[in-house]
Symmetry: C2
Subunit: 333 residues, 2 copies
């Protein structure tokens, strides 16, 4: 059945039923939500003064292609990319509004799968879907907005200071590797390596727990890597009016990526995008402490310097400089 | 110049400049906003415990057509449709996140105009743009999310009670009239009537002030009319498990609409959509008080009854019943 056969009201009812029938989801619902799906707006009782909000969008043909990525993964990813932004501020995500633009010819089953993916992420990270909007559109798109709270002043891109060390939690480049495997299925690779790279692309992990540990331990500068390390580090440095020197050998690159893409792994790591790794900078002392207490590995990739604003220098094995301008993912080029 | 020639970073800079250069907008900025545009997420200090959030989307080819509606009006309308939802909850809007899906071939000037429209509405209603997202898309779309606060428990669709009177603030049908004039420019009409109907379609007024007066004076059931009176009243009655009896002669229909569309005005009023009028129900005593203190006219269109759940009966001049099912705007049919 297609959604144009179902009609809007029955589609909304169906979505509400999908949500209601997901047992585990019902265990995470909070009493602070006063009005959820179904009224003009959602309403909740704030328990912390500091509110955090972010939004992110996925468009068919640009961020995903039907047929190559299961809708359940699209759902997971659409939520996770937003959660990654909340993680980078040190916040705790609570509520999601979901905007869907859907082609009338969309099979109803795709929506079931999409919501299954939304709910997977909601259950994993204690997030409630509180409302949204369904519209007809010639192009499928998913625009999600997440609100959360924080007990601390947020971690900012603009708080990096010279002498800070720069750390990354999570891998970079693997998502691009997974994307390439999907786009060129004939690349020869082991099943395990393939699975690792596909997972990085289809099922990214927002670093929420890690973000909370960082902020609790005095980190004040952080950003998630969504447009590629170079682009995002350039933005980070520009916001903080500093420069960065990075050791290319220290980048957190999975062996699977190096094995499958021996000629391109460094390009993917620097410019790949959609990694949703957590980048931050802090004093060597705090960094040392964090390396002991954060469960996930932290890669110290280089240092913040008092150089030309926004400049990012990558040093290779031979200590050659590769000077970089912003060269990551431009949404319009 | 097209946005693909400008690139993402320069487009973002341009948007930030447009916002910064709008003098009047800078006067409404609040100290409670801790982090605005430019970081991973926006952050603010809540001043009331009750937070209200809503989202709405406009898609090119579905909700507006380039060439027939100026982008400045699209901007106003995209913000106002969200504000109307906040008004219907009795909330005070504060912050907006703006998601744009843009074709790479979009002229940069269109974006300037769109933001001019956003800012017109922001200045009028004290709303701050705190962030958003730009993505490339084959179809232009605008997904906006607005967060606000409230000092009261919200007005709900589900709070209507038998014996309540049903009131409307604002006109119904005029927006559909304006849409028809745009779609069929040869309809003969006076300049003044035309302007009134076009205004209703292009420049709808969210009833924020009125929503606040209603909630302050004890109204607990309200909803905005965005999908047509019949559809929305049906939803309202269903949520409250009541029925409604409406006097067709009491509907707030502008003379201009009747004059220009003598054969269709009642259909437009009942099923038109995009009116953004404020519908509510309350006791006759409160209604009488409200008629004295609300500056805008209130039309009492009928009563809530203890009939079949969701049923809406319209009585015409001869007191004939027109029984109605939900028959307004279905986004997928």
């Amino acid at each position: 059945m297609l959604i144009k056969d179902l009609g809007e009201i029955r589609l909304i009812n169906r979505i509400q039923r999908i949500i209601k029938n997901r047992d585990k989801y019902n265990h995470i619902l909070s009493d602070n939500l006063l009005v959820g799906i179904g009224d003009d707006a959602a309403v909740w009782k704030a328990s912390e003064c500091i509110q955090v909000a972010t939004t992110d969008t996925m468009v068919e043909g640009i961020h995903f292609n039907k047929g190559t990525i299961p809708f359940r993964d699209v759902g997971w990813k659409a939520i996770s990319s937003n959660l990654s932004d909340v993680a980078a501020m040190g916040g705790k995500p609570l509520y999601a509004l979901i905007n869907l633009g859907l082609r009338p010819e969309t099979p109803v089953n795709d929506i079931d799968e999409l919501y299954a993916g939304f709910l997977d992420a909601c259950i994993e990270y204690n997030l409630q879907i509180i409302g949204g909007n369904l519209v007809s559109s010639p192009t499928t798109f998913i625009a999600i907005q997440i609100t959360g709270e924080s007990t601390h002043a947020p971690m900012l891109r603009s708080n990096a200071k010279p002498l800070d060390q720069i750390g990354i939690i999570g891998w970079i480049g693997s998502s691009k590797g997974g994307f390439e495997l999907i786009s060129h299925p004939r690349v020869i690779t082991s099943t395990k390596a393939k699975q690792q790279l596909l997972n990085a692309h289809l099922h990214p992990i927002p670093r929420l727990n890690e973000g909370n540990i960082l902020i609790d331990n005095g980190v004040s500068a952080a950003m998630d890597i969504s447009d590629g390390l170079l682009t995002d580090l350039h933005k980070f440095c520009e916001a903080s009016r500093v420069s960065a020197k990075i050791d290319g050998c220290k980048l957190p690159i999975e062996k699977a990526l190096i094995n499958v893409f021996p000629d391109n792994y460094m390009d993917y790591a620097l410019n790949g995008g959609e990694d949703y790794a957590l980048m931050f900078s802090t004093s060597p002392k705090i960094m040392e402490h964090l390396k002991r207490i954060v469960p996930a590995p932290i890669s110290i990739i280089g240092n913040v310097e008092d150089g030309p604003i926004g400049e990012v220098i990558i040093i290779d094995k031979l200590r050659n400089h590769i000077l970089t301008a912003s060269s990551g993912w431009d949404h319009y080029k």
